[in-house]
């Protein structure tokens, strides 16, 4: 791949990531408004749970929640959704910085390796946090009697594949940075 092509790939990715950033900000702002059923906010999670026939504009959880939905589960899922969106923003921020470095011609910089490692830790941390919340909800359900029935936590291997990918790439970038530094300092 020529350098010009690489740069155009990088700039396309930059545009896509910038758009994703706005979408995630939108999600972070609208999720709590939706969950709390803010009166001025038109989108709800399936509207009135007591009335299954109520048709409202819905987001992605409504069919499940209409069957089993309870408020605590909805709030917890909203929290998980916001944390995940926040993580998305963190990851996008780091990817944008990495792409900026690539565009300026220093792909194999130590900084990029460190950023990838941070992404790996962040994704792993948030995944563990979500499992923790899920477990806490189970405990609250059985010991405190708070009804978390209908809680939906995604158990997908995809984030973990991402975590391992990020760590592997981070090692490669750090190694690459070392090789590049050695090459730069070879006279």
């Amino acid at each position: 791949m020529t350098q010009a092509k690489r740069k155009s790939v990088a700039s396309t990715l930059t545009s896509l990531l910038s758009i994703s950033r706005w979408v995630l900000w939108y999600v972070i702002v609208t999720l709590p408004l939706t969950a709390l059923n803010a009166p001025f906010f038109p989108i709800t999670f399936g509207g009135d749970f007591a009335d299954p026939d109520a048709v409202w504009p819905t987001l992605f959880l409504s069919p499940f929640l209409e069957q089993n939905g309870t408020r605590p589960a909805l709030y917890l899922e909203t929290l998980i959704g916001m944390i995940t969106a926040g993580l998305g923003l963190f990851v996008i921020h780091h990817f944008l910085r990495i792409l900026r470095n690539v565009q300026s011609g220093s792909a194999f910089a130590r900084e990029n390796g460190v950023r990838l490692r941070r992404i790996g830790f962040a994704v792993a941390g948030v995944q563990l946090g979500i499992y923790g919340l899920w477990f806490a909800a189970l405990l609250a359900d059985s010991f405190l009697g708070i009804d978390f029935k209908g809680l939906l936590v995604a158990l997908s291997p995809a984030p973990w594949i991402g975590v391992f990918g990020a760590f592997a790439l981070s090692t490669i970038f750090l190694e690459g940075a070392e090789i590049k530094e050695e090459q730069d300092l070879t006279v």
Binding site: E181, E182, L185, T186, V187
Partner: protein, 67 residues
């Protein structure tokens, strides 16, 4: 660093400036500065050969091992 480069003394003996050496050897001044300040991690045999040829010296005259 255990290996140090002492280019200054040889240059002074030959009455040659770093700029002149860089022109003759075909290595940039920036790279020669890296070499001179012992920041270099490696030196190519071709570079060493060219420097020795221009300064009319042996590698041992510019490279020193310090414990």
């Amino acid at each position: 660093m255990a290996i140090s480069v002492k280019l200054d003394r040889v240059l002074l003996d030959r009455g040659m400036s770093l700029t002149e050496l860089s022109e003759r050897v075909g290595v940039t001044i920036a790279n020669l500065s890296i070499l001179k300040t012992s920041k270099a991690k490696a030196i190519r045999f071709s570079t060493l050969e060219a420097i020795c040829k221009e300064l009319n010296c042996q590698p041992g005259d510019i490279l020193f091992f310090e414990d």
